[in-house]
């Protein structure tokens, strides 16, 4: 597998930051995933070669981190926090609302491949709860209406 120019540049810079090659692993895996949608076999093979690790060791690391995945999900990942601060302000109700609105359960992708939805642990938006992340974007002080606007807005944009 060939890295994109952007990944190639990042890798070349990062590998000089640490005394061991494998130290680039966690952030590099995330950056690769951002481009490919998931860490597929080719990507794992490539990063294993570059960091002088076995593929098994790379998979062992991937399985530890909640953001890393080996299978693709929907284009928009709706990550709803229900941890304590969100729970107190209706986080579980927001989660249920998202599931109903999208017609999918936890960690599922909609049939059109547009949305993935999952319940996540604290995302650091406690004082602005309830909150979710849409890919890397924070959405805070949520209400069911705001969720509807967000999802409808994306659907409209994507179906144009």
């Amino acid at each position: 597998m060939k890295f994109s120019d952007q990944l190639e540049q990042r890798f070349a810079a990062m590998v000089t930051h640490y005394p061991t090659k494998r130290s680039v692993l966690v952030p590099m895996l995330l950056y690769i995933q951002d481009e490919l949608g998931a860490l597929n076999d080719e990507a794992i093979h490539e990063i294993a070669e570059r960091t002088e690790l076995s593929e098994l060791e790379v998979r062992n690391v991937i399985s530890y981190y909640s953001m890393l995945r080996t299978h693709p999900i929907g284009k928009y990942n709706l990550q709803v926090c229900t941890n304590v601060s969100c729970l107190l302000r209706g986080g579980e109700e927001i989660l249920e609302h998202c599931q109903k609105k999208l017609g999918v359960g936890n960690k599922q992708t909609t049939a059109d491949g547009l949305f993935h939805m999952e319940e996540v642990e604290c995302i650091g938006a406690c004082s602005w709860a309830p909150a979710l992340m849409l890919n890397y974007e924070f959405h805070e002080n949520l209400t069911p209406q705001k969720i509807d606007e967000l999802i409808d807005g994306i659907r409209k944009k994507e179906h144009q």
């Binding site: 966690v26 690391v61 107190l88 249920e96 924070f138």
Partner: protein, 435 residues
């Protein structure tokens, strides 16, 4: 992105530059930026550490270890390179303060890392930020690049003859990595499993070299201490608890938000005055004063000064500064279940008492909350939690057990009200919570 609030009782030290555009390097320089590190260069390592000790600054990540003392443990001579590691893996439920620091005052963290490096003789610093905070990783990367471009970091900083590199490192989702030894494992490209101590990171840390690990808020406090003096900082707080703290107020409050208040500020005032009290129609049931890992306080226990020593005396911990306010309409069993689910999800599985204990606690509480509880479950749960305490490599096991014990001790009746096949008597049981 995150909204700012303010209150007249605030004493703005770390939050001094919030909302002033200090992520821009020129603006930061106008606001006394990079003056502290230049002063620190002229002071030299011993004087920096003396000032840090005088400041009575204690670790803002949660453990509250005196920062100056931590640095003094680093050996002066080391055959292996020394490192400074900024812990920006903020993930303690209820805590959202480091986000504001990285967003509004990124250069203060860089300066903090620089001063720490000068103090211990490190040539490399890392700023580890949780993967979910991508926009903050980008802000920090840009800020570091700006500082390099001006020659503030890199070779021969400020003509001192000292070389110093700083790199930003993104995580990829793991609460456990906020624990310092797991953080080092993660930075080294491994699973975030804790290391046994001793040896402590100050002696054997990253790649075997002596390593200072400080929370982002701790490091952001450092330039202010260097500029204004340790004594000034110490006098802002209470004995043995110097300075101010970013308190993250959450729950059904009129004015939730992150407020910077002097150490020792009264918790009751923090809730009813600073945060405007409970929203209309709700009253106070309990307070978790320092993130989800600490013991709950009942409304008659909150007339307490918020510093490490006073909160400990009151039966809880100051922890991460995440003040989670629980209202009368929240069922404690439901709350306990959510906390138990969190620790079960985040346990790395390395130590059996934590891996098995968190799973049993969760399973028992799922059954209990949905009406399948029996009387002996309550004591079993407490017994289980008590047997996790002190039996794990890292504090995650304790963090999972301590809150559950406190909920049972202080709200036993709510647990008993769930017995005899009754579903939660306080509110609707949400299906989403029972997975």
């Amino acid at each position: 992105m995150a909204y700012l609030v303010s209150h007249p009782d605030e004493v703005k030290v770390v939050s001094r530059r919030f909302g002033l555009g200090a992520a821009n390097l020129d603006r930061y320089l106008e606001l006394d930026g990079y003056k502290a590190v230049q002063k620190a260069i002229t002071m030299g390592p011993d004087a920096i550490i003396t000032e840090m000790k005088a400041s009575k600054l204690r670790g803002r990540g949660g453990a509250g270890f005196p920062t100056g003392m931590k640095r003094s443990f680093v050996p002066k001579q080391s055959p292996k390179p020394k490192y400074v590691l900024c812990n920006g893996d903020e993930s303690e439920p209820g805590t959202c303060k480091d986000r504001l620091i990285f967003e509004h005052d990124p250069h203060s963290v860089i300066e903090g890392v620089m001063i720490a490096s000068l103090a211990v003789g490190a040539k490399t610093g890392f700023i580890y930020i949780r993967g979910e905070y991508r926009y903050l990783v980008e802000i920090m990367e840009r800020s570091v690049a700006d500082a390099y471009a001006r020659g503030f970091i890199g070779k021969n900083i400020f003509g001192s003859g000292i070389d110093l590199d700083i790199f930003v490192h993104s995580g990829a989702g793991a609460y456990e990595v906020g624990e310092e030894s797991a953080l080092m494992e993660s930075l080294e490209g491994k699973r975030g499993v804790p290391r046994i101590r001793p040896p402590f990171p100050a002696v054997v840390g990253l790649w075997g070299g002596p390593t200072v690990i400080n929370n982002a808020e701790t490091l952001a406090s450092v330039p202010h201490i260097i500029l204004n003096g340790g004594e000034w900082f110490a006098n802002l707080g209470t004995p043995r608890n110097g300075g101010t703290r970013l308190f993250c107020m959450s729950g059904e409050l009129e004015r939730p938000g992150v407020y910077e208040l002097p150490m020792g500020y009264n918790l009751k005032k923090m809730i009813y005055d600073v945060s405007g009290g409970m929203i209309k129609g709700k009253s106070l049931k309990g307070v978790v004063p320092g993130g989800s890992s600490v013991q709950i306080l009942t409304p008659d226990e909150i007339d307490v000064g918020m510093d490490f020593d006073q909160v400990l005396k009151a039966g809880s911990m100051l922890g991460s500064g995440g003040v989670v306010v629980i209202d009368d309409q929240m069922c404690i069993v439901r709350f306990a279940l959510r906390v138990a689910r969190f620790y079960q999800h985040e346990s790395c599985g390395w130590c059996i008492p934590c891996r098995e204990g968190t799973d049993w606690m969760k399973k028992t509480l799922v059954r209990f909350h949905s009406g399948g509880g029996v009387a002996k479950d309550i004591d079993n749960l407490k017994y289980l939690a008590e047997n996790m305490l002190g039996r794990t490599f890292c504090p995650l096991g304790d963090a999972a057990a301590m809150p559950i014990i406190s909920y049972i001790q202080k709200f036993r009746k709510e647990f008993e009200d769930h017995l005899d096949g009754k579903p939660c008597p306080y509110e609707k049981v949400h299906e989403a919570a029972l997975v």
